[in-house]
């Protein structure tokens, strides 16, 4: 069953088609690798999917519901989507604990008015922060964390939100080796617990290891899709990345 169906999506900045006629299907409970050289439009597609950018043309179906009102897309929570950003967007002048606790907040204004410290929330937050080894830093300000820790905090926030669809934009960038291992384990756990994961990444090791399915994008178009092992050895894909004559040597 398809979890997300994108049908000829188009986005234009000035006179350049950053995304033109991009169509793809993301299947339920799979890890989808989304790869392509810098500036190929990968992040823009994800931004269109999560309402950060407005859609010029094209339709998006999330678990078979056509997202009509494009503005509504910004409320990812209502579509059961959570995401991280290439450059982590966390609340710098709030503590690490609060950065994660917020996603477990009551959503309605009135009910949030009477919700103070709740045992359920803080235990879930502790569990998540321990998994990513940030529990020790829970009272530190998020803005004071290192780049890798900020990435991990945003990752922990997605875990805490427990949404059906999780999108990670270069989650491994800036991480040390052992942290990469933890993150890849957690992504596999997400899949095991029935989640659908979209992984934008340059690190081909992780893509080959984790992704069930790969979408390759270049200059705004989807140019290949299929099994990672099959796709990433094809000449035309390698050509975009590093060039024909060199890799034949």
């Amino acid at each position: 069953m398809t979890m997300i169906k994108i049908h000829n999506l188009r986005k234009r900045f000035g006179r350049a088609d950053v995304v033109n006629n991009f169509s793809a299907e993301i299947f339920k409970n799979t890890i989808v690798g989304f790869v392509g050289p810098n500036g190929s439009g990968k992040s823009t597609v994800i931004n269109l999917l999560t309402g950060v950018e407005t859609i010029d043309h094209g339709d998006i179906y999330i678990s078979d519901i056509l997202v009509k009102n494009k503005k509504k897309l910004i409320n990812n929570y209502s579509f059961n989507i959570s995401r991280t950003y290439q450059d982590p967007r966390i609340f710098d002048q709030m503590s690490v604990l609060e950065n994660v606790l917020i996603v477990l907040n009551k959503r309605k204004v009135l009910s949030s008015f009477f919700e103070t410290k709740k045992p359920f929330n803080s235990s879930k937050v502790e569990e998540v922060l321990r998994k990513v080894d940030l529990w020790g830093k829970r009272s530190a300000l998020a803005g004071d964390l290192s780049y890798g820790q900020r990435k991990i905090l945003e990752f922990a926030r997605v875990l805490a939100m427990d949404t059906r669809i999780c999108i990670f934009d270069e989650p491994f960038a800036g991480l040390f080796a052992e942290m990469k291992l933890i993150v890849s384990e957690l992504i596999l756990d997400l899949k095991a617990s029935g989640k659908t994961v979209v992984l934008i990444e340059h690190d081909m090791d992780q893509i080959v290891k984790l992704a069930d399915y790969v979408l390759v994008m270049n200059a705004g178009k989807l140019i290949a899709k299929g099994k990672p092992s099959k796709i990433l050895s094809r000449n035309d894909i390698l050509d975009i990345y590093i060039g024909k004559d060199l890799h034949e040597k």
Partner: protein, 288 residues
Amino acid sequence: MEYLIHLAILLSIYAILGISLNLLLGYTGLISLTHASFFGMGAYVTALLLVHTKTSFLLSVLLGVILVMPISTFLGMISDQFNKNDYMLVSLGLNVIIFGLFNNLSNLTNGALGISGIPRPVLFNIDFSSNSNYLLLALVLLLLIYLFSHYIVRTSFGRVLKTIREDENVSKSFGFNTRYYKLVIFVITASMAAVSGSLYASYFSYIDPSSFSVTTSMLILSITIIGGLASLPGTLIGTLFFILFPELLRFVGIPSEEVFQLRQLMFGLIIVLLMMHRPQGFMGKYKL
């Protein structure tokens, strides 16, 4: 001693204003310069009711808040359409417009001449004409508002406000209707300013539009910033400094008509230095 009580009453009036603006700017990141208008609305409602009708003081405070709520909701909706810089200009504009109304609707507000003869309240057979009793009333109201604000900040509601301050779009993506949150806090803080307006009117027994102008909004802003953003005790300290500093100057022998100018000069200097080295203010936790 009598003079000390006067200062303490002034302190509690301005502290309420400072706390409410801190909730807006320090916790939600909204830089609103309309605050003196709500301060004025509360004052005028209480003044008119106490002078022309027999309503009790508490009822007049309540009616002041009841009047301010729909107006601040409407103004909140208007100013929420704009981003940071325009938001500040629009809020400033609303203050000028309401100040113009206070000045020119003379049949209602008696215009620039203001309203005098506002009686002191008599509640539960305590006569508040003596300043010491009035101080009690002011401190009780300050305490209530302080505790209420302290509560707001501790709840999830307060936490959502902080996420709006930090990155509103991400907060929206988590499913929070940020527009609604901003409106609620705007109305709450406007009502607080109205309460402080009622206190002000009844204490001084005379009000005129000049104390509700844009300069007053800017004064409250400077108190809140110097005291410290996102820190309620900080605002108390800021207000204390605001009230006591002229007394210090008088004590040192500065002629009293120059005292308020020197305070403005000192405040301006402190603000510039704070922005340079400590943008969150003395005890603040939020750097602008």
